[in-house]
Symmetry: D2
Subunit: 337 residues, 4 copies
C-alpha cells in the first residue's frame, strides 16, 4: 500500500501516520519527493485495506499495490483449474456447450429442447426453475416442479444440468437436483448466497454482475473459494453501459483479462449479453476466438411463445448452425467441442 | 404496446401477428405509414410484456407505452405516501435525518455516535450488523450481537433504528430488533429478499441498485408493495458511472424524477454515493434543495479507526455543522428538520 | 510515479528499469516488500508520464502520484479565479445567471427572450449561432447572421452575450461578436479548438465533455490556460450514463470536486443535462446549494415551436419562477444573484 | 413517430396537437386505448424530429419509429459498400491489415516499422502526425514533417498510408499526403470537421466516439455521406464504461450490429480499445470472428521508448504472430488476409 501525503502535511501528522502503521504490526517506508512525500506500507495489504488511511489527517490518497483477491488469483495457483462435471471438463481443451431454455415451462418444451441441443453437440442442459424477473408480474418460474422436470430430462438424455439458485433457503433443494448451481448476474453481490454455495462441494457457475468490475467479480469468486468450494466457473454475460443497441455490452476483453488474473475457467453467455438472437452466433464465435472455455446459450423450440427471453432465444436449427460455426473457430485455434 | 414491422414484412406475417395478438385477448390496431406499418396493441400491456413479440417474424421492434410498475406509480396513487416510524414521518414536510456508523463495532462507539447524532438533530439511528462487503476478508459485521447493541441504543436515546438485512433467513430476526429494515444497494435485485420483506408490515428503506435504472428501481419497490407491505422508502445512493473522482455518481436528478413518477418518499445517502467525507455536506444541501425527504449519513467518532467506510464518515462535530447548513436550505424552501 | 514490479521480475530487469529512469534525469527509489518490489521515481512526473514504463519488461503496473494538470490546479493558484465579463463576475459571491434560447432563430424570438430573461434577473444572454447537431438534417444554426442578432440584442438590453464556436476557422469571427466564447460538450476534446481559444484574451465557458472524467476536463482547461488565456469558466452539464430517465446525468458532486481541485469558477447547465424542462428548476436549486457560481439555462418564448431543444426549454414565466427559487437558496447560503 | 398522451390530456390539448401536426403537412392517426391515447404521425419523420412535440401540452412522451440516418443505412443501400484504396479493398472478402506506430517519431522508427508490418502482411501503414493528446504537455506530433516521413515510407514500401486530421484547417494538407484520412474518436462529434472531409473524394476512417451510441455513430457517418463523400470506413475502438481493467471496453457486438444497420465496412482498433499489448492479439481474433473487415494495430520497434501509447504497442515480432493467428480465424470462416 502506498500512502501519498498532502503537500501541506505537517511533521506531526506524518509521525501520527507512521505510528498508526506500526501499531498494526506493519512497516512504514518513507520517501520524500520534490512535490510529494509518500509512505510505502510493508506487510499484508489485505489486512490493512480494512482500516482506511484515507481519513487520517495529512493523507491525500491511498493506493493499493496488490490485487485484493488471493485464492482466485493465478499468482496463488499457477495452473488452470479444471472443473469436472460428470464427464464434462470446464477449463480443459474442449469447449463446453451449455444450452437450453431460459425458463423451464413444461415437460414437452424442456424435452424437445434437451434432445435438440444434445443432437447439436451440447453436453450440459440449462433451464431456469427460479427466475429473477425485473417485474413481479412476470413469470417467476416453476420452482421445484421445474427442477423435477430438469432431473427427468437429465435421466432421459444423459446431459448434465445447471439451474439458478436465488435464495439461501433454496440452496440445498436446488443442489439436490442439479449438477451445477448457477448464481445469476443480479446475485453476484449477494454475499449471503455466495457464502452458502461456498460450503457445498458442487460446481458453481458464477455470472458476472451487470456492473461489476473484474476485480469485484474475482472477489465474489473469492467468497466461494474461501469457504472451501473450489469448483467455480466464471461466466461473462455483458455489462451495463450507455449503449442500448444491445441489451448489455458483452465484454469480450474480460475473457483474456480473467484468464490472465485467475486460474478459473471462463465461459460466456452471449444470449443474456446481447438480448438479440441475431447476435448470438457472431458473439459465440468471437468469444471462442478470444479464449472462452464454454458457451451458455438460450434455445427454445418456439421463441415467440417463450415465457421469458424469447427475443434472444435461438430455434434449435439456428443453434445447430451456431455450433457448426463455433466448431470452425475452435478447430482453427486447436481446440475441440 | 406498439409493434413496428419490418419494411419487408409480408401480409402473411402481419396476419400471423394479428392473430397472435387476438389469441391473447387483446385488440390490434393497424396503421400503415409511408415507410413502416405499425400495430398498436390495446389491452393490459403488463400482461403481454411477458410474451415478447420481438421474435415474431416480420417484427422490427416493440415499444412499450406504459410504465411497467403500477402500485408504485403516482398514476395509481396521486397523493404522497407518508411512512410513519414512531413519531417520525417520511414524506411529510419535515426532512428526516438518519445518521450513525457504517458498522456497529462495540457499545462505546455506537452509544457515543447515537448521542452525538441525536444532539445534532437526527431522529433515526443507522448501524450495520450484517455487512455486505466486497471482500470476504473484510469485517462482516457483528450480526445479532450488533442488533442487540442497536436495541440498547434505541432504549437509551429514544431514537428509532434502521439496519440492513441481506439474507431471507435473517428477515424475521432483524425485524425483531429494528424499526426500519434496509435493503442495500447490492440487494435491490435480490427478488427473494424483496418478496420476503414484502410480507412484513414494517417500513423498508430500499436503496437504489448501483446500476439500476429508475424504472427497474420502481419495479423493485413494486415487488415489496405487491406483497402487501406499502411502507417503502426510496433511497438514492449514487450510481456507477465511468467517473472515479467520486466512489459513485450521486444522481440528484433522480429525486424529482422519482417524485414525479411515484408517491413514495425519497431520501438520499450522500456518504455511500461520494465515498468522501468532504463531499457529504454539499451533497446533502443539494439533495434537500432538489426535494429529498431525508438524509442518511455515516458518522463515526474516530473515522480513521472505523472498521468500514472510514473515508466517508463524518466526525460528530462535522455532522452537527452539516445539519445546520441543511437547515438553512430546508427553511429557504419552506421545510423543517 | 510509482512502478510496481511483477513478482517474477529478474534482477536484470530491475537494473534495466533503474538505468532507464536515470537516463531521463530522474532518481529511482527502490523498496522491497514481502509480495512486491516497488520503485518510486523522483522528479517531474509530468515529463515522464509520456514515456510509458508500462511496457518495460518486469513491470506490473505504473501509478501516478500527481494530478497531470498544473495551471488549473488549486495547488498552483490557491485563491479563486474571478473571471470578469463587463460588470459580471464569475467566481465571486454573486451567482451569475445566463439564459436564452438554445438556437437563435429570428430577431423577434431572440429579443423577446432577451427582454424576458433580463427582467427575471439574468445578466448574460446565451444563443447558439453555430449548432453542433447530432443529425446533419437538423437545423444547423443561422451562423454569422445569428451572431449579428445577438449583437443587436446586446446593444438593446445591455446584457453580455455568449455563443458557441465549433470550428477553429470561426474563432476570430465569433470572438468579434461575443463577450464569452463557449466550447460545447462535444468539443471538450477538440484540442485544435482549445489551443485556438487559448491564444485569445477573452473569457471561455468550457463545457464538460459527455464522458470526460474530472481529470480530463481539467486537462482540457489546461490546454487553454497553457496558451495564455486564463479566463476559463468551467461548466458541468451532465455526463453519459446507463440511466435514460434523463438525457444525461447531472453530476452535481463534480461542483465541489472541481472547486477542491481547481481555482476556476464552476457553473452548471441543467437544461442540457436533464433534457426535460420539469427538472431544470430543482436541478438549478441543487446546483447552487452545492456551490455553483452560475447557471446557464435555455429559455424560449414558445418551446413547442423551438428549432432545437424545445423539450428542455423554459417559458419565460417559468424561468422567472426558477430565479425566485434559486434566490431563496442563494440567500440561505449567504450568496446573492 | 408515435406521440403518447398523458392520461389527463384534455380534448382541447389533443385538438391543438392534431392541428400542429397537420400544419407541418403531416397526417395524424389517433388511437384511443384503455390507459392511454396515442397519436401516430405519418410523413417523413426526419423532418419532424426537429420540432419536439415533447413540450406540447398534454404530451407524455414521443417515440421515433425510424432510424434517423438514411444514406448510411442498409435500408437505403442493400449491398455492402466496398471502399477502394489503391489495390486494397475495405468491405470485401479480404481482411485489411493496417499497422504502424501511434505517433511518427523519426525516419528510422517509421521505416523500421513500415518494413516490419509489410513483411507480416499489412497493406496499410498508420502513423500519427497530428496527435490528439489529453495533456497539453504530451508530445503533440511532428505535424507536416511527420506527413512527409509517411509519404517517404509509402514510396519506399508501396504501402497505402492513413493519418489523422484534427483541424478543419489541416484537411487539405493531410489529404495531400495520405491515401486515407482518419477522424479520431475525440472528433466523432466534431461536425465542422465531418462536413469538411465530406467534401473530399477520399476514403475516411471514422472512429467511433468514446461514448457514442451506434445510432449517433451512424449519424456522424451520415454527415460525411450527405456531403457527397461515400468512402466511409467505420472503426470500432472501444467505448467508455465503468470497467477500468482495460482502457476502454471493446464493443465487439457493435460489429454485427453495424453490419446489420449499415452497408459500410467495419474495422476494429484493438490497440486503442484495450490499452494493453497483451490483449491485442485475442481481441483481434475475436473481432475477425465476429465479422470485422479489417484491423488497425499499433506497432513500435521499441514500445518502451515510444513517445505515445507504448503500453499498447506491439513489437514487430509479436505483430507477426498476431497476423498468423488472425489468419487461422480468417480461413476458418472463409475469408483471406
Amino acid at each position: 500500500m502506498i500512502i501519498v501525503l498532502r503537500p501541506d502535511a505537517s511533521e506531526e501528522q506524518i509521525d501520527h501516520l507512521l505510528s498508526r502503521i506500526r501499531e498494526m504490526g506493519l512497516t512504514p517506508h518513507i520517501s520524500r519527493g520534490i512535490e510529494r512525500t509518500i509512505v510505502g506500507v510493508i506487510g499484508d495489504e489485505r489486512l490493512i485495506r480494512e482500516r482506511s488511511f484515507q481519513s487520517t489527517p495529512g493523507v491525500e490518497h491511498v493506493m493499493s499495490i496488490l490485487k485484493p483477491f488471493k485464492l482466485a488469483s493465478r499468482e496463488f495457483k499457477h495452473d488452470d483449474t479444471i472443473v469436472h462435471v460428470n464427464k464434462v471438463e470446464f477449463g480443459g481443451n474442449k469447449i463446453v456447450l451449455i444450452a437450453g431454455p431460459c425458463s423451464i415451462e413444461n415437460p414437452e418444451q424442456l424435452m424437445k429442447t434437451a434432445n435438440a441441443v444434445k443432437a447439436a453437440g451440447a453436453t450440459v442442459l440449462r433451464g431456469g426453475a427460479f427466475k429473477p424477473r425485473t417485474s413481479p408480474y412476470s413469470f417467476q418460474g416453476l420452482g421445484e416442479e421445474g427442477l423435477k422436470l430438469l432431473d427427468e430430462a437429465r435421466r432421459a438424455t444423459g446431459l448434465s444440468v445447471v439451474s439458478e439458485v436465488m435464495d439461501t433457503r433454496d440452496v440445498e433443494l436446488v443442489a439436490r437436483y442439479v449438477d451445477i448451481l448457477q448464481i445469476g448476474t443480479h446475485n453476484q453481490h449477494n454475499y449471503a448466497l455466495l457464502k452458502e454455495v461456498g460450503t457445498l462441494q458442487k460446481p458453481v457457475i458464477l455470472k458476472r454482475g451487470l456492473s461489476s468490475t473484474v476485480e469485484e467479480y474475482l472477489l465474489a469468486a473469492e467468497y466461494i473459494l474461501s469457504r472451501g468450494n473450489n469448483q467455480v466457473i466464471l461466466c461473462e454475460r455483458g455489462i451495463r453501459t450507455f449503449e442500448k443497441a444491445t441489451r448489455n455490452t458483452l465484454d469480450i476483453s474480460a475473457i483474456p483479462v480473467l484468464k490472465h488474473l485467475s486460474h478459473l475457467p471462463v465461459i460466456v453467455d452471449p444470449s443474456q449479453a446481447t438480448g438479440n438472437w441475431r447476435l448470438v452466433e457472431p458473439m459465440s464465435m468471437a468469444s471462442v476466438a478470444a479464449g472462452a472455455d464454454g458457451l451458455m446459450i438460450e434455445v427454445h423450440p418456439e421463441p415467440e411463445k417463450a415465457l421469458s427471453d424469447g427475443a434472444q432465444s435461438l430455434l434449435p436449427e439456428k443453434y445447430a448452425h451456431l455450433v457448426s460455426q463455433v466448431q470452425l473457430i475452435a478447430r482453427a485455434i486447436g481446440r475441440e467441442i
